[in-house]
């Protein structure tokens, strides 16, 4: 990143200015703004699935209600807790980098990554449970007998029943899509956090890497915000 121009002074506290920017402020603003616009695209990326969710759920509330009973509410709860905590460590990491405390930054980033990995671990446990219960959509999906019966009760006609059974699976389709895309963002985030931590340790960044860490923080918090919505939408339909 910093080969285009070489600083003559090599002042540690001073970020390097890339040759096409006029000053540091401009450079910092550009990165920040770039990340914000990127997050806007991320919002729209999720919104396609959220629209599908909103429509199918409002059309077949029973099916979604029954489906959500198979989610592991407390695992989800624990995971939310983990993720919120990781956001805190990330925020503190950003703060440390703003203050120029490199070592602290490394530790906070590591903590964030560990929490992120914990989140993924719990998610993996949930996935295994669901797959073992034949709740993974596709050829092996089975509507559990009591849910099928419950759906039969709420459906007036066979057509409706057929639809409701489909929507029951749809709940899981959307659950897996949403959480998998979210998990994918987590994985990307964790990898970057770890890389950044290593680079911080090696004092690779000029100017304490404040801009880079801030931008990374924005991304991480965004992934957190997504989960804040996913948790009630998927686990807490009661």
């Amino acid at each position: 990143m910093h080969t285009t121009s070489t600083s003559a002074t090599l002042d540690d506290d001073q970020p390097l200015l890339m040759s096409h920017f006029d000053d540091l402020e401009q450079q910092h603003d550009a990165s920040n703004l770039g990340m914000w616009f990127f997050l806007a695209t991320e919002v729209m990326f999720f919104s396609g699935m959220l629209a599908a969710y909103a429509i199918y759920r409002s059309l077949s509330p029973e099916a979604f209600h029954l489906g959500s009973r198979h989610m592991h509410l407390w695992l989800g709860f624990a995971n939310t807790l983990v993720l919120l905590t990781s956001s805190l460590t990330m925020a503190l990491g950003v703060r440390a980098s703003q203050l120029g405390r490199r070592n602290q930054v490394v530790w906070y980033l590591l903590a964030t990554a560990v929490l992120g990995i914990a989140f993924l671990g719990v998610k993996a446990v949930e996935y295994t449970k669901e797959i073992n219960h034949h709740l993974f959509p596709g050829k092996h999906f089975v509507v559990p007998a009591d849910d099928a019966e419950a759906l039969m009760k709420v459906s007036a006609t066979p057509e409706e029943l057929h639809l409701n059974l489909g929507r029951f699976q749809m709940m899981f389709v959307l659950y897996f899509c949403l959480t998998a895309v979210h998990a994918f963002h987590m994985i990307v985030g964790i990898v970057i956090v770890l890389i950044m931590a290593e680079l911080m340790r090696r004092k690779w960044f000029s100017g304490h890497g404040t801009t880079q860490i801030e931008v990374l923080g924005l991304y991480w918090h965004f992934v957190d915000v997504v989960w804040v919505f996913l948790y009630p939408l998927l686990y807490l339909i009661d």
């Binding site: 703060r95 703003q98 009630p232």
Partner: protein, 99 residues
């Protein structure tokens, strides 16, 4: 390039507020089924999101442009939802299949 550096205390307060809201959502989901669950859950989630965005993501201390981008992206999400749902909800209004 002046950063507003937020006090650790603020971060902690926000964090504990988030945790409290998390308990609130879960609690609310055990309310009797007459309660407006979706509404409560979404309100709480929105509050949480706003807290994260304002403080963890520093929007509260940022320039107007950042505010606009943050708000606009949510607005666009709502547009997509609102117009699509509008189609589905008005389908039954006319007693004609397919309309």
């Amino acid at each position: 390039m002046t950063h507003h550096i937020i006090a650790v205390r603020t971060y902690l307060i926000i964090y504990f507020a988030l945790i409290a809201f998390l308990f609130a959502t879960v609690g609310a989901s055990f309310l009797p089924s007459t309660a407006p669950h979706l509404l409560i859950a979404m309100t709480i989630a929105t509050i949480k999101a706003v807290l994260i965005i304002l403080f963890f993501m520093h929007v509260y201390y940022s320039n107007r442009l950042t505010w606009i981008v943050a708000v606009a992206s949510l607005l666009w999400l709502t547009l997509l939802l609102a117009f699509t749902l509008a189609d589905y909800f008005s389908r039954g209004w006319l007693d004609i299949p397919g309309k």
